[in-house]
Structure formats: C-alpha cells, structure tokens
Subunit: 302 residues, 2 copies
Amino acid sequence: MDYQESDFNLTNYLNDKKELINSELDKIFKDFASSSHIVTAMKYSLMAGGKRIRPILCLAATEAVGGNLESTLPASCALEMIHTYSLIHDDLPAMDDDELRRGKQTCHVAFDEATAILAGDALLTLAFQILSSPVNKKDSQALVLLNVIHVISIAAGYKGMIDGQMRDIISEGALLSLDDLENMHALKTGALIQASIRCGAVLGNGSQEQIKLLGIYAKNLGLAFQVTDDILNVVGNPAVMGKAVGTDINRKKSTYPLIMGLNESKEFAKNIINNALKAIELFDNKAEPLRAVARYILKRKK
Amino acid sequence: MDYQESDFNLTNYLNDKKELINSELDKIFKDFASSSHIVTAMKYSLMAGGKRIRPILCLAATEAVGGNLESTLPASCALEMIHTYSLIHDDLPAMDDDELRRGKQTCHVAFDEATAILAGDALLTLAFQILSSPVNKKDSQALVLLNVIHVISIAAGYKGMIDGQMRDIISEGALLSLDDLENMHALKTGALIQASIRCGAVLGNGSQEQIKLLGIYAKNLGLAFQVTDDILNVVGNPAVMGKAVGTDINRKKSTYPLIMGLNESKEFAKNIINNALKAIELFDNKAEPLRAVARYILKRKK
C-alpha cells in the first residue's frame, strides 16, 4: 500500500476499493439468509450503483495512517448504509420527492412509501448492528469501536446530517447567505464525510496529530465536493453526468455560483482543495489516494 | 431495593421510575443546548406522556439481578427514544395514518411529514449516540456497552421491530393464522421489550443463568401484553382507557379474541403470565417489581 504520485492510477484505485466494499456488502446480506420484503427493499437501494465515496474515503484514511483495511471494512460498509438510508428518506414525497436516482426508480417508487421509510430505518439500524458486531469485538478494540459509533451517530444525527437536511428543506426557495449555505452543506454532507475519514484514521490506529490533520483535509474536501457539484450543475455536460443540469437555477436553490459567481466559485474550490492537500503534505506516500481524490475533485466532469 | 410482595406498591414504583427516566431525558435534552426545529419536534414526541414501559422494564431487570441503576439509566432512555421514533414513523400517513396519540397531535400533524420523518430518524440516531456516550466509557464497560448496542440494534432492526411493522402493514385486512399473528407481535413489540429486559440484566452484571431466565420472562410478558391489549379493545371501557374500543374489529385487524375467542384469549393470557412468573420464581425479592408488572398485566383496565 505504498503509492507514488507518478504511477498512481486513481481510476483503478477507486474501482478496486468499490469492488472490495460491494463484495463485503454482498457478504453481509448473504449472512442474513433472509429474503423478506424489507430486506429486498434495503438491498435494492444499497446495491443501486452508488459511487461508495464515503467508505472509500474511510478506507483511504486507514491506509494513510498505515492501518489495516480488514478492521475498517465493516465500518466503511456501515457508513454506506447510513448514506443510503439518508438518500431513501430524502427522496420521499414529503421531502425532495425524487422519482429517479442514478437512472433507477427511487425506493418509494419501486416499492411504496411505507416500505421506503422502513427500509431507510432498517439500513440506519443495521449500520449500528454492523459496527457493534461480534467479529469486531476483541477486548482491546471495544473502546475504539464505541468511539467510532459515537463519532458516526453524532455526524449522522440531529446536530449533523439530519439538521442539514432539515435546514435544506426549510430554506427551500429562499436565497441563503454564504455562511448559511456553508453551514447547511457542512451539516448535510460534510459531517458524514468528515466522520468517514476520522473513523478510518481511528480504526487504523492513527496518532492524534494524524487524526487532527485528516480532519482539516476532510472538512475542506467535503466543502470542495459541494462547490464543484454546484458548478457542474451550471456548466456540466448532461450526457457525461447522466443527469440534467440547470436544475438548481430552476428550483431557485441557493448555490455557490449563484451567490459568489461562477469564476469566483472555481477559484474558491481551488483554494479549499489546496488547503486539503496542505493539511496532509507531511504524510508519506500511503496518503497518495487521498491526495489524488482531492486533485480529482477539481477536474471531475460528473 | 429489597421489595416484599405484601407491601410492594406498583403504582408508586412505576411513578418513581417514570420520574427518574423523565428527568434523565430532560437532562439529555438540556445538555444539547439546542432549540433547532428538529430538536423541538424530537422533544415534542419524546415528552408526550409515554408510559415508559420499556425503560422501566430495563431498570427493573437491573434491580432484579442486584445491579446499579446508574449504569442502566442512559440505556433505558435510549430504548425510549427508539420506541418513540417507531411510533412517529408508524403514525405517518404512508403507514397507519394516525392523527392523535395519547390525546395529542401526532408529530406529522403538529409539525409536518418531513419533520416527522427526520425527527424519528434523529431519535433513533440519538439512541446510539447515548449508548456510546463518553460518560459510560470505562474500559471494562466498553465491551458490555458494545454488546448492549448489538442486542438493541438487532431487536430494533430488519429482523425485529421493523420487520414486525412491515408484516403488520402487508397483512392489513387479511385474517392471520395464530402462528403468523404471534410472530408479527413477537417482532413488532416483543423484540424491543425483550431487548429492554436483556440489556437491563446485562448492564446490571447479571449471570448467564439470570439473563436466560429473564429472557423467558420477557418473551411471555411481551406476548401477554399484546393479548390483553387485544382483549381490552373488545371489552375495555373507553372512559378509563382514554381511547376508543372496537377499533380492531372495525379495521378488520387480526386479534387474539377474533382468532381464538374472547374467553380462550383470557385463559391464554393467564397461562403465559404464569410462565413469566415461573421463569423468575427463584429470583429474590429484588425481582418483585417484575413480578408485580406481570400480575398487573392480567388486571389492567387500560
């Protein structure tokens, strides 16, 4: 797991990790040996072709501190379950009312609303079942796992992701100040991204200093991801992105290009990615995947 | 905490414990120092006057094995949060579509559907935050707490409470067999009641034998609770119960009186309460609250 910038291939890395995560998720669902209605709906959304960004960042953080991927893999799957549950609930008619996600019907369309609500609930609950699972329960690891559960529950909770979604709904149609926009995103998507990286570092036995620096990296990365998302919604190519552009303007959504201007948004994204890279500049080559992800965010077309 | 049957006053006991739990819940919400929209909705439903049966059973199980209530109190509050989240989601229009609960507007009526979905999500997540909270994190306790989180997440999850609710929705209008009815209730309400008692015993450092016997008690108690609930829906006094009776028949719900007959249901309830009492007959007087709860279930009028 020693990487050189020159020969580091991010596409291969992302594909390898995605495969690792998907096969672990498959294994978890196979262990269930259940084909109940609720499990069918959970699997439908969990295996709907997500990019696995959060679990990959979690694994990459473990690598960056020189840790062992095996002890991080279940937690990374739990993070993807929490992400998926939040998408299922956000897509509901009472929330964003979306019928398609990644070209597939959303859970409440493919099944029904009641099933979608319960499938989301069940994925959130399953995440904590996985995190507290006996296979992980070596005595010395128990306190670390309890810490990880605490970090994730705070990030996903009423002061993190859920508050972000609540603010997003409440502010619909209103033009936010730059501060409010940043706060909303920091909660809605930033909190779980930060938690993913922190948990990867903690499970990899990173030092306090490493965990702190990765926290700065994570904060800037999460923000940059949102800013470039907003930019792509203005200038992206629908054919490449596989989804419509211009939807934010149509929905009167507060975005970075709208509030600070398109060129200023691009400059801003560049600056915060530099902050992310600077935070981990003293890490060795094992942090190359995290650096490559950060650089990629500026160049991404989808 | 030594009780004698002759002078044991269940009403006082339930009131004392309820006060203890409510003041701990108040403390948890005060520590939040947050008055966000989502927290207001969470508090609204959590403090809407619940009977606190699950946390009380959890505390009583700790007492029954001679344990210390202090280390069980946070977990008992977490159990009530999980129970409340399940009620908020079950009441949603896409599920049971109930507008009133305990004489108050349900969460989605008092606020709106999006807020209710998120408030439920947030209470479920908060439960795991409380269970993994630093105040509980003595090294020796970490493995116990991880075990408790695992037991609760399984009971509340896709093979427990959530599957029960799913089956209840799917089977609406169909007459269930006695086996299917029992399975559905064992999942929908039984699983979390059993987990409450198990966690109380585990946190109170009960022996494996004690935990096993309390498991038998819990299984029978949960079932008896449901049977008597169905009976009251036929023969209860609406003025005493504070809610309508005869609603199960109107909704064509499968119930014990409908499937096995009213008198047979009463006999059945008596038998399973006897099983519950028999399981803990060798426990000393510290189990008197659990015995009194079991006896009360047969006599309850609401």
